[in-house]
Structure formats: structure tokens, C-alpha cells
Symmetry: C2
Subunit: 219 residues, 2 copies
């Protein structure tokens, strides 16, 4: 029996955990998809980065970078602007984590429970969900899923402050470790905490592998 | 029997295959080391990047970036300046690839066979080699090993032009695919071509796993 090749869309948020997409989480997502014999296409919004951090001092740098261009570094240039995304072309959507998710894809990092989501990102998540297609979210990315869809079950690792915010808006939160996933079967949402916890790369790799395997089952 | 924990030093060359360290190769090196139960410390030279490329147009950008700061993105800030490296602290040295190797760690990208190597990089390679410690080099990084040590056996994938250059200076080159490694037992050098070839991420992952396993055996 030949396996049906599934098409994953992966939305990146820059390049680097402090101001962009978390690099390990992004790369290991691509690895899991490819190793399972499926295909991926990376996307990122063509917008300015909210901030550029110095990764040694944690200070903000007086630089301007573009989310699509920086994300292209992770994607080895094989990336499209998120405005080109169509739900019809994909079976599964995945959002890796990193602070870029909370600053470039939405405003959770600045605004907390009064956050807004970049319209292209919100539209992509909503379109996939309404089409009954599975969505995976790593690390801090479930904030976007919980904000857009409400009443979903997700994990934020063991962050009780974030748990409280999204419980208030109707979602359930389940604590989990980096090697685990949380599955919302009804909404076809799979989440894993990755570096929300002080985890080793081999642990987040295990969580991401499980997430990708579960998303495939949910198609 | 408890396993002895080995300490790997990993030298990065920026962040992104076109002007820095190849991100997939770097991350998968860290994953292989951690999954094998060993430890890594990332290093990068604290020097300006030779160039900053736009990853969509391939044009040079009028920006200045620093190799250590950009490498810190891959290392999640856990990185030291290469000037702090001491051979006594490490059992194994690994150099992932990417154009940054050929532009920031040495001048092969500009000067070909008249290349020079950044003194700190040359000193690190030479110190580990003289101490009889294994060195792994991915993708284009074997240019540094072959230039510094001469008369080694390495792979550049199937790049006959690069093969010819280093054969002339006394090295042997062995063609290999992305899932393979080339071992120079005498010099304790292990190389794998990674993205020197048009490979899938799951293929380079296999090559890197084999490289790390072989380096461990050579200690």
C-alpha cells in the first residue's frame, strides 16, 4: 500500500527564539515531516519584525528586520509570503514557537489577554479549522490557536499564568512535559510545550515527532 | 556500565546557509550529540560577518551583522566567543557547514585555493588534532580541515572542482552521498556532505547521526 503524501504548511515567525521563530523547534518540525515521508511548505508574513534582540545581552538593537526574510534563513529560501497561503493546498498546518510568535504573529508578548492576531495568521488558522483540517502548535503558539478558536484544549507546558488567561476565554489547558503532546480530538488540535519548559533538544524532538505523527492520524 | 559523558565543541559561522552557518546542519548536530547522551558547547568568532544576504533575492544587503551574535540565535544564547576555546575542555570538535564557513571562518568563498583561515579557527583545529582528538566537518567545512592539516581524507559530496583543489594540496577526496560519512581513521577526521548535495533534511540528518556516532568511537 503506498502512503498518501500529505502537505504541511509551516508558519514561521522570524529566526531565533528571542525575537523570531524558535530555530530548533522549526527545524525539527521540518525533519519530522520529511522523515515521515510527507512534504512541507514554509510561510511567513511579509511584515517588519516587532523587535530585534541582541542574543547575548538581551537588549533591543536599533535594527530593522523583515519576518519573511529572516524566516527564509530557516527555510533555506524555500518560503512563501503567508498572503499566498490557501487552505485548499494543504492537509495540515503547523506553527512552531519562539518569541516571534508572541511579537510578530500576534501581540500576546505586549498585550497579554488583550492581544490581537495578525489578520493573515488568524485567517489561515480559521480557514484550516473550518475545513476540518488538523493544526499543530508548539511552545507559545497555542496562544494564537486558543485566541482565534476559543474553547480548545491546549498545553502551555506548566505556565499557570498563561493557563489562567486562556481558561478565562473558554479553553482548557493541560500541563505537559516537553516529551508529551496534548490532543484535542474534537478540534483536531495537537500541542506540545517544547522550550516553554527548560528542556533538552532531544526532549523537544520527541514531543515534535509525536505531534507530527498525531497530526497525520487526524487527517 | 555508565557511559562517560563526552564534551563536544561546535563552531558556528553565523545563522543561515547563504551567509552564515547552515541552520539545519547546526541544529541536527546538537540533536545528535544530545540524543547520544553527550554535551555540547557552541562557539563562534566575535568578528563581523563578511556579508549579509537577502535570502529571497540573493543580493547583498547593506547591513552589518556579527558572527557571534547571529550564531547565538542557533545556540539559544548558550554560546562563547571562539577566543575562549581550549582543547583541554573538549573531547571532540565539530564544524557544521553553510556559506558562513567559506566567508566568515575562512576566505575559501572569495579566494579558492589561495584561501586563508581565521587564526582562532585554525588554532582550534590544529590544537584538537595535535592532541589526538577527533574532528567532524559537515558540508563545506572540510575545506578548513584540508587546508589546515593537509594530507587528510575528506568528502565534498560530489564537487569535482573542490576535490581537485584539495587533492593538489595533498589530501584525498572521496565522493559520498548525504546519508554517508567518510572516515579518516589515521587523522580521526569524519566528514559528511549534507547540503553540498541537493539532499532532503532527513538524509542529512542520517549523515550527521552517523558522523556523531563515529566521532564518539574515535575518542
Amino acid at each position: 500500500m503506498s502512503q498518501k503524501i500529505l502537505h504541511f504548511a509551516v508558519i514561521l515567525a522570524g529566526c531565533g527564539n528571542k525575537d523570531g521563530a524558535e530555530i530548533h523547534e522549526s527545524v525539527l518540525t521540518l525533519l519530522s515531516i520529511d522523515r515521515a515521508g510527507h512534504q512541507y511548505q514554509c510561510f511567513a508574513p511579509d511584515v517588519p519584525q516587532a523587535r530585534v534582540l541582541n542574543f547575548l545581552t538581551n537588549e533591543e538593537m536599533k535594527e530593522k528586520r523583515n519576518v519573511l526574510l529572516e524566516s527564509a534563513r530557516i527555510a533555506r529560501s524555500k518560503i512563501k509570503p503567508l498572503s499566498d497561503f490557501s487552505k485548499d493546498d494543504f492537509d495540515i498546518l503547523v506553527l512552531p514557537g519562539g518569541s516571534g510568535v508572541a511579537y510578530n504573529l500576534c501581540t500576546f508578548g505586549l498585550d497579554g489577554d488583550r492581544m490581537t492576531v495578525l489578520p493573515q495568521v488568524e485567517a489561515s488558522v480559521r480557514a484550516m479549522h473550518e475545513a476540518g483540517k488538523p493544526i499543530g502548535a508548539l511552545c507559545i503558539s497555542p496562544v494564537i490557536i486558543a485566541h482565534v478558536l476559543k474553547k480548545v484544549t491546549v498545553t502551555f507546558g506548566k505556565d499557570e499564568k498563561i493557563n489562567a488567561i486562556f481558561q478565562k476565554s473558554g479553553s482548557k489547558t493541560t500541563n505537559a512535559d516537553a516529551r508529551s503532546i496534548v490532543i484535542d480530538h474534537e478540534n483536531k488540535i495537537v500541542t506540545t510545550p517544547c522550550y516553554m519548559l527548560d528542556a533538552r533538544i532531544s526532549e523537544i524532538s520527541e514531543g515534535i515527532d509525536k505531534l507530527v505523527q498525531e497530526l497525520i492520524k487526524l487527517v
